[in-house]
C-alpha cells in the first residue's frame, strides 16, 4: 500500500477533494498545517492563508494514477508538494478505491 501525502494551500481543499472523489477514493485524512516553501511562508493565522496536509492510503497502482493526475491537474495550479511512502496496513481490503 502507498500513503500519498499532499501538503497544499488551504484554498485548494475543495478541488483536491473533488479530484479524489472523481477517482472513486472514499477515504482520506486531513489536517491544517503551516509551512514554508518556494511560494513563501504560509502562517497559520488565517485559515485562508494556511496549508492543509491530506493523507490518502491506497494500493500502489491506484497511488501511481493519483500522483500522475495530481502532477498534471493539481500541481500547476496550486502551491503544493506531493509525496508517496510505502506503508503496511491492517485490513488492506479497506483501501481499494471504488469505481468512480
Amino acid at each position: 500500500m502507498t500513503l500519498v501525502t499532499v501538503v497544499c494551500e488551504a484554498l485548494a481543499r475543495q478541488p483536491l477533494l473533488e479530484l479524489l472523489h472523481a477517482m472513486g477514493i472514499q477515504g482520506y485524512t486531513l489536517f491544517p498545517v503551516e509551512g514554508a516553501g518556494a511560494k513563501g511562508d504560509r502562517p497559520a493565522d488565517i485559515e485562508e492563508f494556511g496549508n492543509i496536509q491530506v493523507e490518502v492510503i491506497l494500493p500502489a497502482e491506484a497511488a501511481a494514477t493519483l500522483m500522475e493526475r495530481l502532477s498534471a491537474e493539481f500541481l500547476p495550479r496550486f502551491a503544493a508538494i506531493v509525496y508517496g511512502t510505502e506503508v503496511r496496513v491492517l485490513r488492506p481490503e479497506k483501501f481499494r478505491p471504488r469505481e468512480p
Binding site: 494551500e9 484554498l11 485548494a12 513563501g40 497559520a44 493565522d45 488565517i46 485559515e47 485562508e48 500547476p76
Partner: protein, 328 residues
C-alpha cells in the same frame, strides 16, 4: 472638526492603536501568533453583528429607501475592475490576468475597513443610515465575478463554460463573508427590534472592544506581508495608495447622488476605496490560479488596508467636508 484633529481622533482610537501594536509586534519580531480559531471566531462575530444590526435597521427603513443606493453600490463594484484593469494592463504593464485579479480586489470590499469607518463616524458624531451594512453585503461579489470573467477572457480568449459559471457564482455568492453578512441581514430583518433587544448584550455592548482586539490581530496579519513589498514594485504600491482616493471620490458621489446622507455617502466612499483581502484572494486562487497572489495580496492587505484604516478614513471625511461644506 479640523482635519488634523480628525486624523488624531482616528489614530488615537483604541482599534487603530491596537492595529499599530499588531504591526509593531511583527516588526519587532515579538511574534504573538494568535491561533486561527481566534481569527475565525472574531470575524464571524463582527460579520454577524453588523449584518444583524443592519438588518434590523433595514426592516425599519423599508426596501424603498435602500434599493437605489444598493443598486449604485452593485454597479460601482462591477465597474471598478474595468478601469483598474485598463490602468494596470496598459498603463502599468501588468499581465492581463494579474490586472484582472487586482481589479477584482479593488472593486470588492473590506468588511473590517467598513466597520472601522462606522466607529470613526460615531467618534466624529456623524449620523449615517444604520442599514449601510447592506451596501457592504451587496458590494463584495460583483467585482469578483467581473474580475474573473475579464481574466479568463484574456487568458483564453473565450468565455467561461457553464460549469465554470456555476462554480464562480457559488464562490462569489456563497463565500464565507457574503453568506454570513447576507444571512445575518436577513435574520436581523426577520427578528426586528425585539430581536435586537435580546442580543444587545452580545452584539452591541462589547462590539467596539472586540473590534480593537480584531484589529490587533489584523495588524499582525497585514504586517507579515510587508516583506513582500519589495517584490511587487513601486508602481503597484502607488496604485494601492492612489486608487482608494479616486474610488472614495466616486463612491461618495454615487452614494450622495442616490440619496444617502453625508454619513451614508461617506460610508459608500469607504467601501469603494477599500479592497478585499480574504474573499477576493480566495476566489482568485480557485478561478484565476494563473494570477500571482503576491501582487494582489500585498497591494490590498499590506498597503491599501493599513492606509485606509489609518489615514484614509480621516482623508475621506475631509473630502466630504470640502464637497458639502459641512460634516462633523
Amino acid at each position: 472638526m479640523e482635519f488634523w484633529e480628525s486624523v488624531r481622533l482616528n489614530l488615537g482610537s483604541p482599534p487603530i492603536l491596537f492595529f499599530a501594536l499588531g504591526v509593531l509586534s511583527v516588526l519587532m519580531r515579538a511574534d504573538l501568533r494568535l491561533p486561527e480559531p481566534i481569527y475565525v471566531g472574531l470575524s464571524t462575530y463582527l460579520l454577524m453583528a453588523i449584518g444583524f444590526k443592519g438588518g434590523v435597521a433595514l426592516a425599519e427603513a423599508g426596501l424603498a429607501r435602500v434599493w437605489l443606493p444598493g443598486l449604485g453600490a452593485v454597479v460601482l463594484g462591477a465597474v471598478i475592475p474595468l478601469w483598474c484593469y485598463a490602468l494596470l494592463r496598459w498603463g502599468l504593464k501588468f499581465s492581463a490576468v494579474d490586472a484582472a485579479a487586482i481589479g477584482a480586489h479593488y472593486g470588492s470590499v473590506s468588511a473590517v475597513t467598513f466597520v472601522t469607518a462606522l466607529q470613526y463616524l460615531r467618534g466624529l458624531g456623524a449620523s449615517y443610515e444604520p442599514y449601510a451594512s447592506a451596501f457592504l453585503a451587496v458590494m463584495e461579489s460583483p467585482a469578483i465575478v467581473v474580475g474573473v470573467v475579464l481574466g479568463r477572457w484574456s487568458v483564453r480568449r473565450g468565455g467561461l463554460t457553464w460549469r465554470e459559471w456555476r462554480q464562480l457564482a457559488h464562490e462569489a455568492l456563497l463565500g464565507r463573508s457574503v453568506f454570513l453578512l447576507m444571512g445575518s441581514l436577513l435574520v436581523g430583518m426577520l427578528s426586528g427590534k425585539r430581536g435586537l433587544e435580546m442580543t444587545e448584550g452580545f452584539l452591541v455592548t462589547p462590539f467596539q472592544g472586540v473590534l480593537a482586539l480584531f484589529l490587533f490581530e489584523m495588524g499582525m496579519v497585514a504586517a507579515r506581508r510587508l516583506g513582500d513589498l519589495r517584490r511587487v514594485g513601486p508602481a503597484l504600491v502607488l496604485f494601492a495608495l492612489g486608487m482608494p482616493l479616486v474610488h472614495a471620490l466616486i463612491g461618495f458621489w454615487v452614494g450622495y447622488g442616490t440619496g444617502l446622507s453625508a454619513g451614508g455617502a461617506y460610508l459608500m466612499a469607504v467601501l469603494a476605496a477599500s479592497a478585499s483581502y480574504i474573499a477576493a484572494p480566495a476566489a482568485m486562487r480557485l478561478a484565476l490560479p494563473e494570477a500571482n497572489p503576491t501582487l494582489y495580496l500585498t497591494a490590498s492587505l499590506a498597503v491599501t488596508f493599513p492606509f485606509n484604516v489609518t489615514l484614509g478614513l480621516p482623508l475621506y471625511a475631509q473630502m466630504v467636508r470640502w464637497f458639502l461644506g459641512h460634516f462633523p
